[in-house]
Subunit: 371 residues, 2 copies
């Protein structure tokens, strides 16, 4: 078989040193005494948790958050000495999985708390867990009244050892939104129910709201991977991702020719098109049809017509000579066409660009732990 | 470890018998003498080529199309006696992969033809391939002039044995679009350059344009998987996919409470929300925010607020008693909320819904080859 880098439709380069640099930058920004965890759920936002998490572990990160038991179990052997929290918490009959794989559940509801307490009693030992409080997002977590009931139940607290009290901000990317301060107040009130237990409130954007929101643990995810945490300011995070698509074919077109499905693009002048082996099955959203651009040697080339399942088409008329030729690469994501910009062009956010990154790409990692 | 079906955030059920029934229906619709292949690229449109393709093979399908060498190589041992065509064709230095894995290249460009001919000469045997003609989509394929040059080159045809001449329709889902007839005419003219070689023009929607478009081989993909091939008519295809998301938590909410990121949804009346462990990292597009609905026991429940990475929220106030409870399932895709409808709600098409189906789902297959 040929080399994967020679036959893949695209090459996705992931800079692990940039991820580590982003984590260090955020850790340094935390208020004095507070520490920085890392959110590596959804396969580290599509970038490969099996590579990203060990790189952060080697840099000193010792607390990780995943969404599911399976994500946690897969990472457990790769993160010796680190804590792994599972945000969805246990479903009934999965409590044993947490002990088996050394995972800490985030308990979101009275039912999860009751089940975990019953499980701990049956085990005969007080078992650590995080408590998730809902402070205004109406998603996962205990209401204030439910948190009070937990705090007042000596039976529950004899079985469960809360090691973290956490909540999640709904509008952290909108610094002026009044909900940010309301959530902070609700979090502070609920935390007071559990004296001596550490707290965590802010994810990537929340860390930029100010130190009041930092509590004891930051939980950045997106910003580690280069997503802009504050849309109203220049992006302080290093670029992590580069995506280059391979040209299968270059064709001459004439004025009036139509391009792609639905014949939505009409060629204005005689020129050249390059067909690239990436499509919406690779996470290059169909909503980017005629709304994205690549770069070849610093020259911008517009994506024309509809995104197909496995193919996209660029107008490469502006490229000199034989620059666009079969086998050559067009940069689809990079410093000049970022994940945030792609999110905007696709009417979504950079987060979804990341989690949709394709499985058919040849993935290359730069940096990371030596050896 | 617990059972995956007990801990996965969603269960995706794929009915292989329905895929086979759809293939048979299309094969029966073909004009007399014409046959039906199956397109299983992009992991059989996200449904698992390793399960879908063998089911079709057992039903008698003996010709398959994939997008890439890797897809073909993975399927080769699972499809004894069947042909596997690779639509992207060879990149330079990958020609040997085709012979090694028993794959037939689709040659799209003069460069691919020259390279394949050189490869065949070096091997010392005339080597089969498909020729792809561009008839008006300006995507992959030879122009008419390039096809003429191939047909006139005795040296090329001494090295390459064309076993299929194919093209692809740009507007087959728009039956009245004039490009359909223009592409048919161009295809007929180009085919005449290669007498005795079989032809293939129509994919799912094209098969419904009429027998003139059927040529010798149909190449359906989407319709096999239940996508509506003719948006202007009732869907003749059987449903293949069912997706059920698991409730993590049910919460009471009051009038005025806001829900999810950005606090975009405001609760109108006291009621109940269910948080489900599926999000855009699982392919449930963020563009479905407040634009989708699930079903529980036949009762429609609206998705409210923004789709998060790993979570969605439904208003389950309309459900009786304890129907919505942690661990219970909400149908996210099924006969009452189809892939085509989800595509429309997300401003895309059913095809992209399929290819985005998540990797964290518990996948269950119904039917398929015995044993």
């Amino acid at each position: 078989m040929s080399e994967i880098a020679d036959r893949a439709g695209a090459v996705l380069t992931i800079d692990l040193d940039a991820v580590v640099a982003n984590w260090r930058l955020l850790a340094k920004r935390m208020r004095r005494g507070a520490r920085c965890a890392a959110v590596v759920k959804a396969d580290a936002y599509g970038l490969g948790a099996d590579r990203v998490a060990p790189a952060l572990r080697a840099a000193g990160c010792n607390r990780f958050f995943v969404a599911t038991i399976d994500e946690g179990a897969a990472l457990r052997p790769l993160l010796p000495g680190a804590e792994i929290f599972v945000l969805s918490g246990p479903y009934r009959h999965t409590e044993g999985d947490f002990v088996e794989h050394g995972l800490v559940p985030v308990l979101n509801s009275p039912e999860q708390i009751d089940d975990w307490a019953a499980f701990a009693r049956a085990r005969g030992s007080r078992t650590p867990a995080a408590l998730h409080l809902d402070t205004g997002m109406s998603r996962l977590g205990l209401s204030h009244g439910q948190a009070e009931a937990v705090a007042e139940s000596t039976a529950t607290l004899a079985a469960i050892q809360p090691i973290l009290v956490m909540s999640h901000l709904a509008c952290a990317d909108l610094p002026e939104h009044p909900l940010n301060r309301r959530q902070l107040a609700a979090f502070t009130a609920a935390r007071a129910l559990f004296p001596g237990v550490e707290g965590s409130l802010a994810a990537s954007s929340g860390l930029f709201l100010g130190e009041e929101w930092h509590a004891d643990w930051g939980r950045p995810g997106a910003a580690l991977y280069g997503v802009q945490p504050r849309p109203d300011r220049p992006n302080p995070m290093a670029h992590v991702v580069r995506l280059e698509g391979r040209i299968i074919q270059v064709r001459d077109v004439d004025a009036g020719d139509t391009v792609g499905y639905g014949a939505t693009h009409r060629v204005a002048d005689r020129g050249k098109l390059a067909v690239v082996a990436v499509g919406y099955a690779d996470g290059l959203f169909r909503s980017l049809s005629s709304r994205w651009h690549g770069f070849v040697g610093g020259v911008r080339v517009p994506l024309v017509g509809r995104v197909s399942m496995d193919l996209i088409i660029f107008d490469v008329s502006g490229l000199p000579g034989e620059t666009a030729r079969p086998g050559a690469l067009i940069e689809l994501l990079g410093p000049g066409n970022t994940i945030d910009e792609m999110g905007m062009a696709a009417a979504t956010i950079g987060y979804e660009v990341l989690t949709s990154l394709g499985r058919r790409y040849c993935r290359r990692y730069l940096g990371g732990p030596a050896g």
